[in-house]
Every structure is written in structure tokens, then in C-alpha cells.
Amino acid sequence: MNQPVELQPDETFVLNVGPQHPATHGVLRVKMEMNGEYIVHAETVVGYIHRMHEKMGEVKPYPQFLMNLSRLDYLGAMGYSHCHALCVEKAAGIEVPKRAEYIRVLMVELNRVSSHLVWLGAFIMDLGGFTPLLYTFQAREHILDMMERITGARLTYCYIRFGGVSRDIDDQFIQSARDFMPYMRKELIKYHKLITGNIIFKKRMVGMGHISPEMCRKYGASSGVARGAGINFDVRRNEPYSVYPELEFEVPVYDGCDNMSRYMVRMEEIEQSLRIVEHALDQLPDGPVMPKKAPKIIKPPAGDYYQATETARGTFGVRLVSDGSQTPYRMKLRSPTYSNMHLFDEACRGLMIMDAMAMMGTLDLVIPEIDR
């Protein structure tokens, strides 16, 4: 459906899909130049929710800045804290006990499932089906209740510390996580029946919103966008960290390059995350969750450190430039959604506005993460 559009200079008008809009999942402004219903040119304008996290990273000491990371992308908060903690531990040479690493992976994967459930509900709501939102949010409540019993919060966890995690998990958590697996698998079957097989849904997804692998490479896209275009890149496999080498899972890759591929990649990721959680629960070792001499004052030696992890949105990276003092010289956060979103400008040319909105939904944007 990406036909080239013949542009008559006086036939276009500018439509502002403004910062306040139900479909843009945050405060994102898209200036669209349109010819009737077809988009000729689009420009995304970000910055409406810039909260200066990177500046705060330069003035706050490390243990204080760790709490900021949960608010960066609130839907997948655990993964972001994990990456930052790994980077600082790499810099400062802090050892993490094995049990703490397993618990971190467990929590990150459960958080990934809950983030994908929000994406699914909100995406189908954009397309016009209001009911799956309620179903996915109900499934997500089980995860949030589990996490709340351990961490104390439902969304902005602040659970990971330098050296481990702040509290240990108990048997009730393990049992409820094990009970959650069959429940979630049944729910996934239900979603596939209600949504994926639906002819109306398929007409809007199959063959629409083409994003080629070249475009992904040009813009640095990751996660569902790249894996839906056939690029087999997952940080957990290509640059392994933490205990992922010991866990068995597959990385779903579809090479349809259309909306349906990106959608199926994320649905398969939910299933694979459940597998990871099962394996981690089986292999969970005993031991402490924080090292014995956990340092209170963190002063990494001067240098340049980088750590990337695979979060629900894509490849999140933390680059730490330390000058040996208690606050970093530079804390750069590489936001995956920033790269994912900018290919929207090029990919939506020639599409109708409904299809462009559907494509934007498959990019899984969370605007506060773009603007940091």
C-alpha cells in the first residue's frame, strides 16, 4: 500500500497529530503533511516530557541516580535498572551473588511480559477493539500482585541495587510464578483466537506498514521492529550478560517486514519469557542476595564503560564516563524507542493515516523513554 504519491504543491494540508492524542501513547507530536487521506511527509517532534535524566545523572551520586532509572520507561522499569546496575558494577568491580543474578533475570522477564501485555492492549485499542485491553490488564494484574509482594511497588520498582537486589524472594512468590505459567499460556491462546485470527485484524496488518531491514539498519532500530524485518539481533544472545547463557530460550524472528511480523515477534517473546522464568525457577540457587561487603560509597575508577541489555522496547545502553569521583562525568542513556520512532517519518510516506497509526502502534513507543 506504499504507493508513490504525486504531489501537487497546493493540494496538501498540514494535520497536527498533536501532543494530546489518544493514539500516540504519550506526548508526541507528529506534523503530517497530507494529500487528502495520504501522508506525504511526516515529522515527529519530541521533547514534551523531557525530564533531564542525563543531567541528573551528572550531579547525583550513583546510589541516588539508580532510583531514576525506574521512571525512565515505567512499563519495563526492571530492565532499565538492571542495565544501569550492570554497568556500574562492571565499572566499580562489584561482585553479584548468583542467586541475586537469577532473581534479577526472573524479575526482568516477568516485567517484560507485563510490558508486552500493556502494548498488546493499547495497540488493539488504537485499532478500535476496546475489549482486549481489559483482558490483558487483568492478566497483568497477576504479575503486578506478585511483584508487589516482593518489591513493594507495582510499576516503578526501585528493586535492584548495586551488588544484588534489595529483598529476597520467598516460597509464595515462587509458587505464584509457577501457577502463573499455565494461566498465561491459556490467555495467550485466547488472544490468538480473539485477535490474531480475526479477518478484520488481519486485513489491517498483513502486508501493511512495510519497514525494510535496510531502514532498520539505517536508523538503528531494535527489538520487534528489527526482528520483524528479519534481522536476528538480540542482545541476550549476541552480547550475553548476567545468567542468560545458562538459560534456554529462542529469539523469534519473522521476515515479513509488515505489521503482522512485528506483532507476532512480540507475542512469541511473551511465550519465550515464560520459558525463561520457568528455567530460572528450576535452576534458582541458594545464597545471599547482596554481597557481604556491599559498598555504600561507589567510586568507579576513571574510564569509559558501556553495557547494553535487551529490554522490552529494544536495545537499551548505558554509557558511563567516570572521572573517579562519586558522581559520573557523563551518564548517557541510549534509548531504543528514540531510534525506533524516527523511522516512522520515512516509513509512513504514502500511507493513509489509519495505517500510519496502526504502524505506530507496532513500533511500541513509550514517549517518556524517548525524551528521558
Binding site: P63, Q64, T131, Y135, R149, G152, S166, I199
Partner: protein, 146 residues
């Protein structure tokens, strides 16, 4: 030609499958809690705003070491203490929490080595002016003791 009809019939069948799913869901029990007529109890680990813990005599455990003040990322806590005449340890004279900046991160509770602060379980605070959220925790402790 065959594809045309096959698409119509398989499409129609998928619509009926979807409708069956919602029909079955319609007979499942309700999952919402009818707040504020029914409320939920917060779990033990829930992080509400902090409160002072007291010892057996009703005095706060706090020794004014300022660890919580240093640990807080948002600078919410301000406290003063003074050494009474003839005493060795500092005594708390005021403990002020600016809840409008607090992010409920639990850094202060973890930094405290003297078991002086804990999280309360309050979650439905609402008010029209900011001053209601500048908590004087020492006064609240005295009120609880009465």
C-alpha cells in the same frame, strides 16, 4: 475465484470464533473491586510514606546520624537533633518529610542502621493544598502515642 470465496468463509468463521471468546468471558466472574465501597489491604512490603518507629518508652529510635538525609535522591528529609545536657547520644527535635518530592524509592529506610523509620501503608492521600504533604513526622509520632 476460489480464493475469493474461501476468504469470505474463513473470515466469517474467524468472526464467530472471536464472538464466542467474548461470550464465554461475559459469564466469567467480575474482577474489579468496587472502590471506595470495598478496599484492598496493602501487602507488607508496600512502600507508603515513611513514619518514625518508637522504642518501648515511646521515644523515636532515631540517633540523628543523617544517613537518610544523605541517601535521599530528592532531598525530602530534613531533621535536627541536639545533645541534651549530661547525655551522650543526640535526641531528635524535629523530623520533616517533604512528601511532594518523595519518590517512594526506599533508599532512606535501607540506609538507616538504627531501625528508626519504616514505610506506612497509606495510599489514598488527597488534598487541595501542598502544605498538607509537608509531614512533621515527630508530631505524628506523638499523636499516635496519645
Amino acid at each position: 475465484m476460489i480464493n475469493y470465496f474461501r476468504e469470505i468463509f474463513s473470515g466469517l468463521w474467524s468472526l464467530f470464533v472471536g464472538m464466542k471468546v467474548t461470550f464465554i468471558e461475559a459469564f466469567s466472574p467480575k474482577v474489579t473491586v468496587h472502590y471506595p465501597y470495598e478496599t484492598l489491604k496493602m501487602c507488607d512490603a508496600y512502600r507508603g510514606h515513611i513514619e518514625l518507629i518508637e522504642n518501648e518508652e515511646g521515644e523515636p529510635n532515631c540517633v540523628c546520624c543523617m544517613s537518610c538525609v544523605r541517601a535521599c535522591p530528592s532531598g525530602c528529609i530534613s531533621l535536627t537533633g541536639e545533645k541534651p545536657e549530661g547525655g551522650k547520644k543526640k535526641v531528635l527535635t524535629s523530623y520533616h518529610l517533604d512528601f511532594t518530592r518523595c519518590s517512594l524509592c526506599s533508599a532512606c529506610v535501607e540506609a538507616c542502621n538504627f531501625n528508626a523509620i519504616e514505610h506506612s501503608k497509606e495510599y489514598n492521600l488527597a488534598s487541595r493544598n501542598k502544605e498538607d504533604f509537608h509531614f512533621d513526622l515527630l508530631a505524628r509520632l506523638r499523636e499516635r502515642n496519645q
